[in-house]
């Protein structure tokens, strides 16, 4: 029995295409689902106020906040659910939540 590559199967799969035991062989492929569509607000960083402590990165439940080359932070909007934790925890108030209007 061979391990089928997910790329060669269209979803929804036919019965004989289902991986044995419903095993998933590609770790972390949940990242193909963009949870960003859930949010009603998104965080925006004011880098003039940011002290580069990284707490926003630590406290993001999605793990979607990343540090750039200069040490500032931003959220990956593909995944950000707009929970507001980063803005709430930011000491210097460098993060504001903005309404998504679309």
């Amino acid at each position: 029995m061979k391990k089928k590559k997910a790329a060669s199967k269209a979803w929804p799969e036919k019965w004989h295409e289902v991986n044995p035991g419903c095993m998933v062989f590609i770790p972390g492929n949940a990242s193909t689902y963009h949870t960003g569509s859930w949010r009603a607000q998104r965080p925006e960083w004011d880098n003039k106020k940011c002290i580069k402590c990284g707490l926003c990165y630590v406290f993001c439940p999605e793990g979607c906040i990343t540090e750039d080359a200069e040490g500032f932070f931003k959220a990956n909007l593909d995944y950000c659910k707009g929970c507001g934790i980063c803005a709430h925890e930011c000491w210097p108030g460098a993060i504001k939540m903005l309404e998504e209007v679309e």
Binding site: I26, S31, T35, C53, F59, G63, K81, C83, G84, E89
Partner: protein, 315 residues
């Protein structure tokens, strides 16, 4: 912890930058449990095998054909995380000894919610710990059976409203206090038992690393703030975790070989529990008298813990 000024500023420098749980998972906005899981996995690294009970973390991460897990992962059923992790530990041990897998230490890790730990999972947990398997058991405690719609567990706090312990006219919420599984673990002679909260990430990470270093069983009870089930604002998740610790509702401590040690500043006076309760809709029905009853219970549990801290000695 309190001797270092502004220690939180150094936090991100101490954390592993790799993510072992991919974004794209379906946790609720502001989920404290998935944050705890993310931090736990950073502290553990990738030489682990996770055995997960049915629950929030399992459902939000592993809908076939997708998985958010970047580490080896198995889910079997609701009540057997302890037993499955025991089997994983034994299998890895035997295969490594017989040279059928690489000669590398891989830790078996069980992760279950409060349901899969304190209620239906208690037997399997007890058996696993009694047998002394080299594994860590994490209880991610959001204080109810959240995944199935907020039904009470024996980890639901006194007077909290859940769908099976509703705030009704005759009976106002949960009638009993929180089952103390950490104590049960100490009674099993588990060498390392700790409580942790993701609002204190470095404390959490340190405890996970200590648990990983034990060559034997270890248990960590992790407070998992749940805005959906607790009816709190999603952005206040971390704040709620801090309030739970500061009010003594969820004290942070560890028990090493029977010796109790607080890992938080012991306040001269606990913050009033009302500060914590008023931010959550599940306690909305409490009047002042109810809050006093909750405070009395918190005070009693705090005194019990302080006694143990003062008098316990290593085995």
């Amino acid at each position: 912890m309190s001797t270092v000024q502004n220690f939180e500023i150094y936090v991100p420098k101490l954390l592993d930058r790799r993510e072992f749980f991919s974004a794209g998972h379906r946790a609720c906005q502001g989920c404290g449990e998935v944050l705890a899981l993310r931090l736990i996995l950073k502290a553990l690294g990738d030489d682990i095998v996770v055995s997960n009970a049915t629950g929030c973390m399992e459902i939000i991460s592993s809908a076939y054909p997708q998985t958010a897990w970047e580490v080896p992962y198995i889910h079997v059923a609701f009540e057997n995380a302890g037993a499955v992790a025991s089997g994983v530990e034994a299998g890895l041990k035997a295969l490594r000894r017989k040279g059928r897998i690489p000669d590398r230490y891989v830790k078996s890790v069980a992760i279950a919610g409060d349901g899969g730990t304190v209620d239906i999972g208690l037997q399997a947990l007890s058996g696993a710990m009694e047998r002394g398997h080299d594994m860590i058991f994490f209880c991610l405690d959001n204080e109810a059976y959240m995944n199935t719609g907020i039904q009470r567990s024996s980890a639901t706090p006194f007077m909290a409203a859940t769908t099976t312990s509703p705030a009704g006219k005759a009976i106002k919420g949960q009638r009993t206090g929180k089952k103390n599984v950490a104590e049960i673990m100490v009674a099993h002679n588990v060498p390392y038992v700790a409580t942790a909260c993701p609002s204190y990430p470095i404390d959490l990470v340190n405890k996970v690393k200590k648990a990983k270093a034990v060559k034997g069983p270890a248990y960590i009870h992790v407070f998992s703030m749940c805005p959906t089930g607790w009816r709190s604002a999603s952005e206040e998740t971390i704040k709620l975790g801090r309030l739970a610790v500061e009010t003594g509702v969820f004290p942070l401590y560890e028990v090493e070989n029977g010796k109790y040690r607080m890992t938080m500043e012991i306040p001269k006076k606990l913050r009033p529990v009302g500060d914590y309760l008023k931010l959550q809709g599940r306690f909305r029905h409490l009047n002042d008298e109810d809050i006093e009853r909750v405070q009395a219970l918190v005070n009693k549990e705090w005194r019990k813990l302080m006694n143990k801290v003062a008098t316990s000695k290593p085995w």
